[in-house]
Amino acid sequence: MAKVLKTHADSFVVILLGVCILYIVYFQTSLSEELKTGLDSPVLFPKLLAVLLIGLGLLQTIVRQKNIANNDSASVEDEEELDEGVEPNNKRLWIGIAILISFVSVIPILGFLIASFLTMLGLVYLFKKVEWYKAVIYSLTCSLIIWFAFETFLKISLPVGLFGI
């Protein structure tokens, strides 16, 4: 069972997405009379797309299962498209994502300038161990240049934090 779930995980997610869309559409239509029927209904397209997603998801499951049953390794699609002959570094991926989410989360508190400096510092270290002063100088310079470019050149005010910058 676990193997089947793993093999078809993406197809099941697609089917589930279709079902969720259908559920939301029916929930919405139950609240509003004007949405219910007709070929010019605003929910016609979402409904069609939901059905299409369910259909395509099912079709993918069947095709893949058939390929597995036929032991047709050539036609069973590779799941990982990212393998570029290099070992994947999942730990670094998760740390990178965490840094990015933290960056966006702390912008309202620290402001864009400080948050971007800290993020860049973290990411420079994540990619390569460099001397601390080089990382600091690089991150600070780049943050200031980006800040300056947006504020002065593009006339777009980037978020300011509790420290007023």
């Binding site: 995980a9 993406d10 869309i21 919405q28 004007e34 949405l35 070929l39 010019d40 605003p42 929910v43 397209f45 979402p46 797309l49 939901a50 299409l52 997603l53 395509l56 998801g57 993918q60 699609e77 590779d78 799941e79 990982e80 498209e81 990212l82 393998d83 570029e84 290099v86 994947p88 570094n89 999942n90 670094r92 991926l93 740390i95 994502i97 990015l100 960056f103 966006v104 912008i107 864009f112 971007s116 993020t119 860049m120 990411l123 420079v124 994540l126 990619f127 390569k128 460099v130 690089y138 780049c142 980006i146 470019a149 947006f150 593009l154 006339k155 777009i156 005010s157 980037l158 978020p159």
Partner: protein
């Protein structure tokens, strides 16, 4: 004639010239760096064009686009690492030439073929687009609905390994486009009461997430850096350049490649990769000495490069006349046009024909800048590719966040970008191609809006909508195109593998 003089005067403005040069150089650098793609560069650059006049903004983006495509070929020739997929064919003979010590010849041939093909392609764009635009003016909602479906046939061309996965991605894309108020009645759909979602998902926000952020996540997981040992001593450009005989010998190849490029580029869903390999294949097939190819034949570089670059301007034919993007880059540029208040479609040829003329002439000028950068800029590219990821990607990450914030001056938009970044990354992980998703987001509103208009005007008769002769022809053409481009794509991939 007055229009041409006015367009020339506008383009001769030092500010515009400077922007184009900056754009070409930026594109060249980005295109030459493996991991940094043309769509990513365009997505990142769009927020920078906000404060600019529409012409300046569009020309900057076009400069980046053209520069990036050419940059991909430069690294393919120099270090056998194509910066963009379209550059792969140029590496077949370009890199063996570099190994033989003829990198300068290869680069100059590549620059010359690119210029030749670009001139042919721009001429085709200038000649064909106005004619097609006149035809498009006769189109009603039913025909535009059919055209939207035709645009979806691109999906087959950018499907990757599985057409089924591409179709799923496109369906998700169309679904994303339905978020927000519906196009006719303004009824809220999937907004969950959020004020931010009422206007729908912003196209540029989605594409920054899909193409820029996804690439960053990929680099987090798969560190990739150019092997500096690959950059050998032949790159100092002290070796001999092209001579007249070599240029003369390659003229026929360039002409053939350019025509192939234009024909392929004008078809939605094809693009530079297919065209460069088709052109290269045709050159090998028609040569008296096919055995020389792949071992350092100058005509091989000419064929690949003219085939790839010939598609560039031709891809604008369906975009400018019908508002249907021919590939991912033109899809992104469509978003940029909209952002600058330029309504793409046949009306563009009536209302703002001067702007269009300036864009056409600007493209010509850009191609000359690309040629000059290619002829003289190889040493710059070899230096740039040595920049470590550790310095490059942190800056890009911050730029992504700043850029997506700038689009709506809202942090909500940044979260939407992050969402699309994750979505794109997960989709790639499971082998789902991203271009169909983007095409779905772009074409969804065109299809839905025109369908609703058409169905309202026919009193709800769906058969009347699809049985108009033009609409029906377009729909049949869409099915044929879908099969054709899927098969062509598969054949090319097989050829690349070989």
């Amino acid at each position: 004639m007055d229009n041409y003089i006015e367009a020339f005067q506008t383009l001769a403005d030092p500010y515009i010239i400077l922007l184009m040069i900056i754009g070409v150089l930026a594109g060249l650098i980005i295109g030459s760096l493996p991991g940094l793609t043309d769509p990513m560069a365009l997505g990142l650059a769009i927020p920078f064009t906000f404060g600019m006049e529409p012409l300046a903004g569009i020309l900057l983006l076009l400069a980046i686009h053209f520069g990036a495509i050419y940059g991909g070929s430069m690294t393919a020739i120099l270090i056998n690492t194509p910066g963009t997929p379209a550059g792969a064919a140029a590496a077949l003979d370009g890199f063996p030439l570099t190994k033989k010590g003829h990198s300068k010849k290869a680069l100059q041939m590549s620059a010359l073929s690119a210029l030749f093909a670009a001139l042919v392609s721009v001429s085709a764009l200038m000649l064909i687009s106005p004619i097609l635009a006149k035809v498009a003016l006769k189109f009603g909602p039913a025909e535009y609905f059919a055209l939207g479906i035709f645009g979806l046939s691109i999906v087959a061309g950018v499907a990757g390994k599985s057409l089924l996965k591409a179709l799923i991605a496109a369906t998700i894309g169309i679904f994303v486009s339905t978020i927000g108020a519906d196009p006719l009645f303004g009824v809220e759909r999937f907004t969950f009461g959020s004020y931010y979602l009422y206007e729908g998902i912003d196209l540029v926000t989605a594409l920054i997430g899909l193409f820029a952020l996804t690439e960053i996540f990929k680099r987090f997981q798969y560190p990739q850096q150019i092997d500096l040992n690959k950059i050998n001593g032949n790159l100092n450009n002290k070796n001999k350049g092209l001579n007249r005989t070599e240029i003369k010998k390659s003229l026929k190849t360039m002409s053939k490649g350019s025509v192939i490029g234009v024909l392929v580029g004008a078809l939605p869903g094809t693009g530079a990769v297919i065209s460069s390999f088709l052109s290269y294949g045709e050159e090998v097939r028609s040569s008296e000495h096919p055995e020389k190819y792949g071992k350092g034949e100058l005509n091989g570089v000419a064929a690949a490069e003219s085939g790839a670059i010939g598609t560039e301007s031709a891809a604008f034919i369906p975009l400018l006349t019908f508002g249907i993007p021919g590939d991912v880059a033109t899809a992104i540029l469509l978003g940029a046009f909209t952002l600058h208040g330029i309504k793409i479609g046949p009306d563009l040829f009536n209302g703002s024909s001067n702007l269009l003329l300036m864009i056409f002439m600007g493209i010509l000028l850009l191609e000359i800048f690309v040629f000059l950068a290619g002829w003289y800029g190889s040493s710059l590219v070899t230096k740039i590719v040595k920049v470590p990821n550790a310095y490059l990607f942190p800056v890009i990450t911050v730029l992504v966040v700043a850029g997506s914030f700038a689009l709506m001056t809202s942090l909500f938009n940044v979260w939407v970008t992050l969402f699309f970044g994750f979505l794109g990354f997960v989709m790639i992980k499971f082998g789902y191609p991203l271009p169909p998703l983007l095409l779905g987001i772009i074409l969804g509103p065109i299809i839905e809006h025109n369908y609703l208009l058409a169905i309202s005007s026919t009193g709800g008769n769906i058969f009347e909508v699809i049985s108009s002769p033009i609409a029906l022809s377009i729909l049949i053409l869409a099915i044929i195109m879908m099969f054709l481009s899927f098969r062509m794509n598969k054949n090319i991939k097989r050829a690349i593998k070989k």
